[in-house]
């Protein structure tokens, strides 16, 4: 069931929040030995909050669609009184004394946190193969990664453990697990959702967003999470949109760009066909599909990499005195980041403005872009190299090739399932839009979802 279906059942007294939360906790307990999706389970607190949610609904106090719904937070989000590890040995015993803004907003909307989900160490990677807490496994195939860094959130949703989870996306960390786990993930426009109280990774690249099993659920969650927050220096003051797509969505006249360059290079043939099929589905709903040339994403990826290397090392440099507390892959990235020349970091910032202008021009031609989330399906755990059409590529670079660059220009992206590969694994479609076009992206996503 989706959040919206569950919300209707709660209000019709067909089930209670306590029943929902008990069911979620039972599923988590059963799944934990296999998928390792959670780092902390907050059963007692969740059951108390679920009881309060039921009491409020009985008394007529309705906080909206998330009222009484079991959710999970990536263990990067500060949760008052609940351990928040960032998937790191450094913060293994850290207990915040306040909630992240996103956590507080979701709590105020009545959502019930059942636990904290696993992630790649410090959110700095895409495998969620955590050396300190064990690998998170993909419910679609436990021998494979769920993607990352929000891998626990992706696994929890794909495994039916919760109805919504939070994620963060600095170079694809919401969209990658969404694609590899076959769920919905939304990376909003930079500044739309407050990052206050979330461990940073890249100051100018970090985004917070919802992960769900349906597009309309993502809209419901974004409605709660979005909004200006003076405690986040990057937060943007602008009126909230209505993100919820209507019951029936038409794509008549919506201009969708299909990239002629970059996004269909070096890609699994089945992924290519899947994305083209999604474009055809949109066309059948009235959308106008146009082939477009997109900015040089290979260069944009380099700009994003240089920016992230420098920013992440700045964030974590103070902890590097004790190198034993870091996994090998993260340590290598942190070392590299300390060696990036300041001039290259600044060149990257100049280039970002240039790319942002190029994307603004592109979005005069089309309303959104369709692109694959990844050129491949989820690699096996520990698989360093993948073969794409017979050519070997680093699994991490292949996974982030279509994701990373967009973070440098802060554009919103909705990742939705694009069907299954012949291997049985899911594939993902990215719907990329201009700044603050989340409502439009969600309408397109909902339309595609409604006719699948």
């Amino acid at each position: 069931m989706t959040i919206l279906e569950t919300a209707a059942a709660l209000r019709a007294s067909k089930l209670s929040s306590v029943e929902l939360v008990k069911d979620s906790l039972r599923r988590i307990e059963n799944a934990q030995p296999t998928w390792n999706a959670f780092l902390t389970i907050t059963a007692g607190q969740a059951l108390r909050e679920a009881q309060e949610a039921d009491d409020e609904l009985r008394k007529g106090k309705d906080r909206g669609p998330l009222h009484g719904i079991p959710i999970a937070h990536k263990d990067l989000f500060f949760t008052r009184g609940v351990k928040t590890t960032a998937g790191s040995k450094v913060y293994a015993d850290f207990v915040p004394d306040f909630d992240a803004t996103a956590v507080r907003k979701l709590r105020d909307a009545g959502a019930v946190m059942v636990g904290k989900t696993g992630l790649h160490e410090l959110a700095y990677g895409i495998t969620s193969n955590n050396p300190h807490f064990g690998p998170v496994r993909n419910p679609r195939d436990p021998e494979r990664i769920p993607g990352g860094s929000s891998g626990g959130s992706g696994a929890a949703l794909a495994g039916g453990l919760v109805l919504m989870a939070t994620g963060t996306d600095t170079g694809g960390s919401i969209r990658c697990p969404a694609a590899y786990c076959g769920i919905v993930g939304l990376k909003p426009t930079f500044g739309l959702v407050s990052r206050f109280g979330v461990f940073p990774l890249g100051y100018s690249l970090d985004h917070i967003g919802p992960m769900t099993t349906s597009v309309r659920d993502a809209a419901a969650a974004l409605q709660v999470m979005a909004g200006y927050d003076a405690r986040d220096a990057g937060s943007v003051r602008r009126p909230a949109d209505n993100y919820m797509p209507p019951r029936e969505v038409s794509l008549m006249g919506v201009r969708i760009g299909l990239p002629a360059n970059f996004y269909f290079d070096r890609i699994d043939a089945e992924v290519r066909v899947a994305i083209q099929a999604m474009a055809k589905r949109a066309a059948a709903l009235g959308a106008i599909i146009t082939e477009v040339r997109v900015p040089d994403i290979a260069q944009l990826n380099l700009v994003a990499r240089v920016t992230l290397l420098a920013e992440a090392s700045t964030v974590h440099e103070k902890n590097l005195a004790d190198r034993s507390r870091f996994g090998a892959d993260v340590l290598a990235l942190l070392d590299a980041g300390r060696l990036v020349p300041a001039t290259d970091y600044l060149h990257a910032q100049r280039a970002r403005r240039r790319f942002a202008a190029e994307f603004r021009a592109l979005f005069h031609q089309v309303d959104c872009l369709f692109a694959p989330a990844a050129p491949i399906v989820a690699p096996r755990i520990g698989e360093a190299t993948v073969l794409i059409n017979g050519e070997a590529e680093d699994a991490r670079l292949a996974t982030t090739r279509f994701l990373r660059g967009i973070n440098a220009v802060g554009l919103p992206v909705l990742s939705v399932p694009a069907g299954n590969h012949s291997s049985g694994l899911p594939m993902g479609l990215q719907i990329i839009g201009k700044q603050f076009s989340e409502a439009a992206l969600l309408r397109v996503g909902a339309a595609l979802e409604d006719v699948k």
């Binding site: 220096a233 003051r237 290979a298 260069q299 990499r305 590299a336 990036v340 060149h347």
Partner: protein, 61 residues
């Protein structure tokens, strides 16, 4: 950074007391080579002071 100059990342790392291994050195070499195209692309007009800030990118008050 001038082009055609091969940076000795290992020496820089050692001088700064960063115990960078082979993988780090290799990744920096690859990144440096790739980033040369970004450096080459940039023009004077890309300097922030010469570009207006778009309305929707105004910093929060």
């Amino acid at each position: 950074m001038p082009e055609n100059v091969k940076t000795d990342w290992r020496a820089i790392a050692q001088a700064r007391g960063i115990p960078a291994g082979d993988a780090v050195v290799k990744s920096l070499e690859t990144l440096d080579q790739g980033f040369a195209a970004v450096r080459a692309m940039l023009r004077t007009e890309d300097d922030p002071i010469l570009q207006p800030v778009p309305e929707n990118q105004e910093p929060a008050q």
